[in-house]
């Protein structure tokens, strides 16, 4: 959150498509859709493009594995193409492990990790890492299952980089003066974030879905941020940042032998600890359908988020959901995009997505539309959500979804971050060793009936939460068609 928006990221590069990949970790930014009739209303296929009918099947690389003496599990994707390395250290216990009255400790602990150790000040850590050309970041969300530390650097400097990383990960002191500075900075940034209509919609949506469950929190509450102490962070760190509570995934220009030797040197005497298992009652989900409107007087657009409670990552419905979401709104070739953007011209982007971790995530379709077409956009969104639940998808849609979902594995081979992410997913959710190898078969097994079933179940009209951020005077009436409109207070 230390970066500012540079003007060129806002204006200089304008993309014709703002494609947001559906992710298993986080909802996509606002987007939405509306249908018209034929599922591919916005696209015309002339049948002349030389498409290779074969889907290129690829093998994902297998990691080399080792366990340090202190129990830390290590996986390496060795790759000498470029003289760089990356590693990600996953600790079990993110925001879900927070004390119930301090939801935010995990997030702040992660953000304060590099603000001082027994040997180094915050500034020394920043300067020493920068001098090596290394980057170290750590994150946890208020509802994440893990706290994650990521380190990237030049393979010439692995040794020195690991020395600093080890100090930062093992010996943070969480100085009170740094925490005070963080608090002030965070609250000022939050005020600015909350001026963004998409962020407002997301916060309202998550609260509507999750109620008291921590899944409701996009960011911690202001009172919690104001009340946290260094002792809170130190306690969380001592309980969670432990070698026997973690796994490490590495990629790059290093051998397993070399990596393990260096890790034993810098992390070998890191003490294990007894661990408390995180357990939390599952979210209940919304009890009834609601329409919530955040008034943003003069807003030239309405941000719309529509959805409900979804599935856990391990759910039996995962693959049906994956294919359903792809057809509904998983990208520019989807129904929502073709209808609301390409056919109607209501929006710059409209997408659906689903999330899910150790607790059920959300299903959501979202968009930003100009105020005057809010009614049409709602109509089309509603139409598409009903259509995917009430009618079987066409054979062509299903075939294309399979081709897309299986075909994109080839591209992931060109992205170490994707490969590392796949490995982490497999470990966190204890998926079978052949999970990614059998993924194509699992996708291919999904039928139109499966798709209809999960669409009906999770985009259930009786539980649908509709969030709108826009000019209430202009859009309030339009929304009443979908239920009693409740004014929502901005957070």
């Amino acid at each position: 959150m230390n970066t500012v928006t540079h003007k060129n990221t806002v204006l200089a590069l304008l993309s014709s498509l703002l494609f947001v990949q559906a992710s298993a970790q986080a909802p996509t930014p606002p987007g939405s859709a509306a249908p018209a009739g034929a599922s591919t209303k916005g696209v015309e296929l002339k049948g002349k493009v030389p498409v290779n009918p074969q889907t290129l099947r690829v093998q994902l690389p297998k990691p080399q594995e080792a366990v340090l003496k202190n129990g830390l599990r290590v996986s390496l994707l060795e790759d000498h193409k470029l003289p760089t390395f990356s590693m990600q250290l996953y600790f079990n216990g993110g925001g879900l492990a927070d004390p119930a009255d301090k939801r935010g400790v995990a997030m702040v602990t992660a953000s304060q990790l590099r603000e001082g150790t027994k040997q180094r000040s915050s500034r020394e850590i920043a300067e020493q890492l920068a001098t090596l050309g290394a980057a170290l970041s750590s994150t946890a969300g208020p509802a994440s299952g893990e706290s994650v530390v990521s380190v990237t650097g030049l393979s010439d400097n692995v040794e020195q980089t690991l020395a600093i990383a080890s100090d930062v990960i093992r010996n943070p002191t969480f100085p009170a003066s740094e925490l005070d500075k963080f608090r002030a900075r965070f609250l000022a940034q939050l005020q600015i974030q909350r001026a963004n209509p998409g962020f407002q919609a997301q916060e309202q949506f998550m609260r509507a879905i999750y109620g008291e469950h921590p899944g409701a929190l996009v960011v911690p509450s202001e009172p919690v941020i104001k009340g946290l102490t260094s002792a809170d962070l130190a306690a969380f760190h001592a309980a969670r940042y432990r070698p026997n509570n973690a796994f490490l995934i590495a990629h790059g220009d290093i051998t397993l032998k070399d990596l393990v030797a260096k890790l034993e040197h810098h992390f070998g005497d890191w003490a294990k600890a007894d661990l408390n298992k995180v357990s939390l009652p599952p979210p209940k989900g919304p009890e009834k359908a609601r329409v919530l409107l955040v008034d943003r007087p003069g807003s030239v657009q309405t941000s719309l988020w529509i959805g409900s409670l979804g599935i856990e990552r391990n759910s039996d419905d995962y693959f049906a959901m994956l294919v359903m979401n792809h057809i509904l709104g998983g990208g520019p070739a989807s129904r929502l995009f073709m209808n609301l953007r390409e056919d109607k011209g209501y929006t710059y982007g409209v997408y659906s997505s689903f999330t899910g971790t150790t607790f059920p995530g959300v299903v959501v379709a979202s968009t930003d539309v100009r105020t005057a077409v809010t009614e049409g956009a709602m109509h089309e969104l509603d139409f598409e959500l009903q259509r995917i639940a009430n009618e079987p998808v066409t054979e062509r849609e299903l075939t294309n979804a399979r081709r897309a979902l299986i075909g994109r594995f080839a591209l992931s081979l060109d992205s170490p971050l994707s490969l590392m992410g796949n490995l982490a997913t497999q470990k966190i959710y204890k998926l079978p060793a052949d999970y990614w190898d059998t993924y194509p078969q699992r996708v291919e097994a999904i039928t139109p009936a499966d798709i209809q079933r999960v669409a009906k179940k999770y985009y259930d009209r009786g539980q649908l939460q509709i969030i709108a951020v826009g000019d209430a005077k202009q859009v309030g009436k339009v929304l009443e068609k979908y239920g009693a409109v409740e004014p929502a207070t901005p957070m």
């Binding site: 500012v4 928006t5 204006l11 498509l17 696209v43 290129l56 001098t131 003069g298 081709r403 994109r408």
Partner: protein, 456 residues
């Protein structure tokens, strides 16, 4: 056809020359070896064979951007880019992205003031499809009133999303209007609603003929293919697309600025003041640019930087601060952006920024700071060339922006050659009050439906 061949693949080699005075061992040199070919119709082709992953990436960079627009048609280059996805003789409306995504690929198109690029990455067995679709729209774009009206709406929504409905959206746009004198860069790439409404089908056809000619484009292909086969396919689909007269030149070199420029806006969507500061610099890739990049890294690159440490961490005046050097075909800029804490005054923040700038002009930077700039650039460079798509995009962009695709291989050396003296020299030369433009945005009470209005 002329061919300049540099080699076959992305490979590693040890640098021959030790870096004088470096404490670390000489870092391994990395090269992106590419071959260059020019088709009979003037299309430049660049090929990089890389068999390490089964993907192919295509980039088509056109030598056109909002710099080529005329008054009354702002936003047109970008609107046109949207039209490139609306179909051509043999590719249907929307079929381009439909085929790419349906076959496991990723794609996009982007427009800036200087260039317009189209790119896609796909599994390696779909190279012919990608080339066919790029060639078909270069040859035979299908332009109709209905398609234009449809994309005009999508672009106007994009403007609302990014500018009109965002805090500071209007400020970024206004900044260039104050900073620049020549029309090419003085207006925003997204354009005005009024001008977008004025664009006609005739304008689209004319723009296509002038700027989307093969001799005004660069085709770069990177990935898992055999060069001779790829080249044969490229010639088959592209070589008979007719050449056009060269587009008219645009003057993008600004006159010397002699006095500070300053403006204040109020923004009902903003919740904290913001300061945008820009200094005029020379054209992209000129002799001072490497030193300016190092200067920017030391001053404002990341949380070890002087501005972050001093103004955000120590003095606690801002909630965000940072910036970058923008290298353009014409006159570029050295930018600093600060978001002021709600309880602080913009003029205090501004003074603190100038204090740090004064310090960097008066005393040489530290050795570690120079090392930081070199290593950060190196890591950033290595990460940027990892994917086939990025390599294709960089080669295409460097060719249009700097007329030098091999800059992908020489840029790091230029950064490594910068001395502490160079950094001080360019700071003194460019970061001067008379070369400066300052735009301050102040939050204003929400006014009904009023866009941010220029201040006094």
């Amino acid at each position: 056809m002329m061919a300049r061949r540099y080699g076959m693949c992305l490979c590693l080699a040890l640098a021959a020359l030790p870096i004088v005075g470096a404490t670390a061992a000489t870092p391994a040199a990395v090269r992106v070896d590419f071959s260059e070919h020019t088709l009979k119709n003037g299309l430049r082709v660049q090929l990089v064979e890389d068999h390490t992953t089964p993907v192919i990436a295509v980039n088509v960079s056109y030598d056109v951007g909002s710099r080529n627009e005329r008054p009354g048609l702002t936003g047109f280059a970008h609107l046109f880019e949207h039209m490139m996805f609306k179909g051509s003789k043999n590719v249907g409306d929307g079929e381009h992205f439909y085929q790419v995504f349906t076959n496991g690929g990723a794609m996009n198109g982007t427009t800036s003031s200087d260039l317009t690029v189209y790119y896609e990455a796909l599994p390696a067995n779909q190279l012919e499809m990608a080339l066919y679709m790029e060639a078909d729209r270069m040859r035979s774009l299908d332009i109709t009133q209905a398609k234009l009206d449809n994309q005009r709406q999508a672009v106007q929504e994009e403007r609302r999303l990014r500018v009109d409905n965002q805090p500071y959206g209007r400020s970024y746009e206004r900044f260039d209007e104050v900073f620049y004198d020549k029309f090419g860069y003085k207006h925003s790439t997204i354009g005005s609603m009024e001008d977008l409404n004025a664009a006609s089908v005739q304008d689209v056809a004319e723009f296509f003929r002038i700027y989307y000619a093969p001799n005004n484009a660069v085709l770069t292909v990177v990935g898992d293919f055999k060069r001779d086969e790829a080249l044969a396919t490229i010639k088959k689909y592209f070589e008979d697309i007719p050449r056009q007269p060269a587009p008219p030149p645009v003057d993008l070199i600004e006159p010397k600025q002699t006095a500070e420029r300053r403006e204040t806006l109020t923004d009902p969507l903003a919740r904290a003041p913001q300061i945008l500061i820009g200094y005029k610099i020379g054209v992209g890739n000129d002799a001072d640019q490497a030193a300016l990049q190092v200067l920017s890294s030391v001053l404002q690159g990341g949380d070890s930087s002087r501005l972050y440490q001093s103004i955000s961490k120590e003095k606690e005046l801002v909630s965000g601060i940072g910036g970058y050097v923008e290298e353009r075909i014409g006159t570029g800029g050295f930018y600093v952006t600060a978001t002021v804490r709600p309880d602080q005054k913009p003029e205090v923040v501004e003074a603190a920024i100038y204090e740090e700038i004064a310090r960097i002009t008066e005393e040489p930077i530290a050795d570690w700071e120079l090392q930081k700039a070199r290593n950060a650039t190196r890591l950033g460079y290595l990460q940027s060339i990892r994917s086939a798509q990025n390599r294709a995009n960089i080669l295409g962009s460097y060719t249009i922006l700097f007329k030098d695709p091999n800059l992908i291989n020489t840029r790091l050396q230029k950064i490594d050659a910068v001395t502490r003296g160079d950094v001080q020299r360019v700071a003194r030369k460019y970061l001067i009050p008379t070369g400066r433009t300052v735009l301050t945005t102040l939050p204003a009470p929400a006014a009904p439906a009023a866009p941010a209005a220029p201040g006094p």
